[in-house]
């Protein structure tokens, strides 16, 4: 299983990181959809990192701000991440991602809670992201078949348009997705998620991309809109990122979470 973390959504727990420089500078309409998405994966792979970020949820005119610190490490096969909320209202709440399982720790609860399949479509911390958005983000190449359908300009950047449809036998959260991938930096600039009947469910836009290592570009601010939630959007911002962070032994374990 390719468990490299894709920057867009996984950044919630997140994110993310990069390993070696990805192949950049390639600018060709000859790339297939699958090749483009593989380059996105390669570009956004993180071996280990410490990330400080905030999530701003706008809901019917009300703004809710959450801050978190995330530790993430990946050996290329399995990805583990720990996100701890540090804003006053949520202080102490932690999410632990261990491969394809997610656990929650709450300061007022005696037990750890595993995110079960029945909760996957629920909103994560009241945001426009669902748990499934986070868990599926690293499995896209397994869940979808990709096709490059053209080039468009997004915010002044040339972008591949890649359409994804669920692979046969797979039942991902969204039947179809469309990606706009920066043709030079291999960063997702925009993503639309659709239901089986073609109804638009969510839109994710990248609002800030920075070169955080030579030749490595990362989206550091993005906005997700759940089209089924009236007047709602969630802005995710990375405020600080330390790559190749030396995460203390045992940090990303259930024992430490408890």
């Amino acid at each position: 299983m390719n468990t490299r973390i894709r920057m867009s959504v996984k950044t919630l727990l997140l994110c993310i990181g990069f390993s070696a420089a990805a192949s950049l500078g390639v600018f060709s309409q000859d790339l297939t959809g699958g090749e483009i998405m593989q380059k996105v994966d390669d570009n956004q792979f993180i071996a280990s990192a410490r990330i400080e970020s905030e999530m701003i949820i706008l809901d019917r005119g009300r703004e809710i701000r959450k801050e978190m610190i995330t530790y993430v490490e990946s050996d290329g096969d399995d990805t583990n991440a720990l996100a701890e909320f540090v804003n006053p209202r949520d202080r102490g709440t932690k999410y632990l991602l261990l491969g394809d399982e997610m656990w929650m720790y709450f300061p007022d609860a005696e037990d750890l809670v595993r995110i079960s399949d029945h909760m996957l479509r629920d909103s994560m911390m009241g945001s426009d992201f669902s748990y499934q958005d986070v868990l599926e983000s690293e499995q896209l190449t397994e869940l979808y078949d990709f096709e490059q359908v053209g080039m468009e300009t997004v915010d002044g950047r040339e972008a591949y348009v890649v359409e994804a449809s669920a692979s046969e036998g797979k039942e991902p959260a969204y039947r179809y997705r469309t990606f706009w991938i920066d043709a030079e930096r291999f960063v997702i600039l925009r993503e639309e998620m659709y239901a089986r009947g073609g109804r638009l469910l969510k839109v994710m836009k990248t609002e800030r991309v920075e070169e955080i290592k030579e030749g490595r570009w990362m989206p550091l601010e993005m906005v997700m809109e759940d089209k089924l939630r009236e007047g709602s959007e969630t802005r995710y911002k990375i405020t600080s990122i330390e790559l190749d962070y030396d995460i203390p032994e045992g940090t990303l374990t259930l024992e430490a979470l408890q």
């Binding site: 009300r62 809710i64 909320f85 209202r89 949520d90 709440t93 007022d108 609860a109 037990d111």
Partner: protein
Amino acid sequence: MQLLKIAWRNLKRNKVRTSIAVFAITTVVVIVIFSRGLIVGFTESSFSLYINNMYGHVRITTEEYDLREPLLPLDYAIRGLDEGGASEMAETLKQEIDDIQYILPRIRFGAMSSLNDDVVRMMGVGTDMAAEAHHGTLPDDLIEGRMPEEGNEILLGSILAEKLEKGVGERVTFMYSDAYQSMRGRTFEIVGLRESGSADLDEHYFYLPLKTAQDMLWMDDEVTEMLVFGSDAQKADTLQAELDAFLNEHGAEAFTAVTWSNADPFVQVYNEMDEIMFLVYVLFILMGTVVVVSTLSMIVRERTAEIGMMGALGMRSRDIMNVFLLEGVFIGIIGSLLGVILGGAITFYYSLTGLRVEAFAEITGAFDMLMEPVFYIAFTFENLVVSFFLGAAVVALACLYPAYKASKLKPVDALQGRDM
């Protein structure tokens, strides 16, 4: 008087035929009495559940909460008059509106628990346990343990406890979203089990002290609803008008006060059903009446010569009509009387023992309708009287036609056996 005697004597001329007609009326009156008792018992039982658990006599919420209630939006809570706090608002209401007997402030919120690979979703109700102990129904439904008093103590629906595989004295962790939409988890101690009889309540609800709910949901001195109880549920409209006036006077247009009978679509359906059922009762009686009308028509046909004789001897058409009408009325009265005795006995029996309808209650529970698994059929004097007069009156009216027909026979034709 003479006509009465003739009519009464005529009834005895063919006892079998008269008995059949009387039996038909008796049967339909028994059905009507039983049906009315069933409907009244059912609605009273269900209404009582709705009033005590969901709406009070009048429920105050914010307009926005009322609109979005299925989502249980905690951000549209009652924060008091001029945001001075819900407790102060409740006190002011009690002081200024005489008819208010008591108020139960509550917070309802969604919660869930992870059980193996499954998720059990439920509803938490933060409520003033002291007020519940004095006025509410929770203590009456306690089947084990005690009422929650403070901290993380909860009262759990009995079926919910079974699903969670937990009992009194055990601890359970629930997840919920607070007023700022943050997912949270908390471990509670189960101190009591509730069995209301309603599958929906017992399977999906747990109760905790209001203060605990306010703390854990970040809703300091806020509630999502106030259940206001007046002196009589049937006078809820008056209480609502007073509350509306109070809210307008205090510039609290963001709040809405809704009577229990208008708060839930199912209650409205019940009320409409009651009106429809009256029509059904009349139709039932008409079914029995068909037998009486048919019997009378047969009698008129059989006694054509006799009617001619009565006319030839100078009996007025009106008297002839009255004789036949009185025969029908006697059948209606006797049948209705017997129906009242038999129907009264049956409803009285079931008003004591109840009628078990677990399967039906389970089905309706799946649609979030509140219903107890045992109906206690209402045995009321009013039901017996109404059913008696309904039976007698409908039969009498229906007999007008054959009686009129008899009165219109011409003596000469009648004596020659010619029908009209």
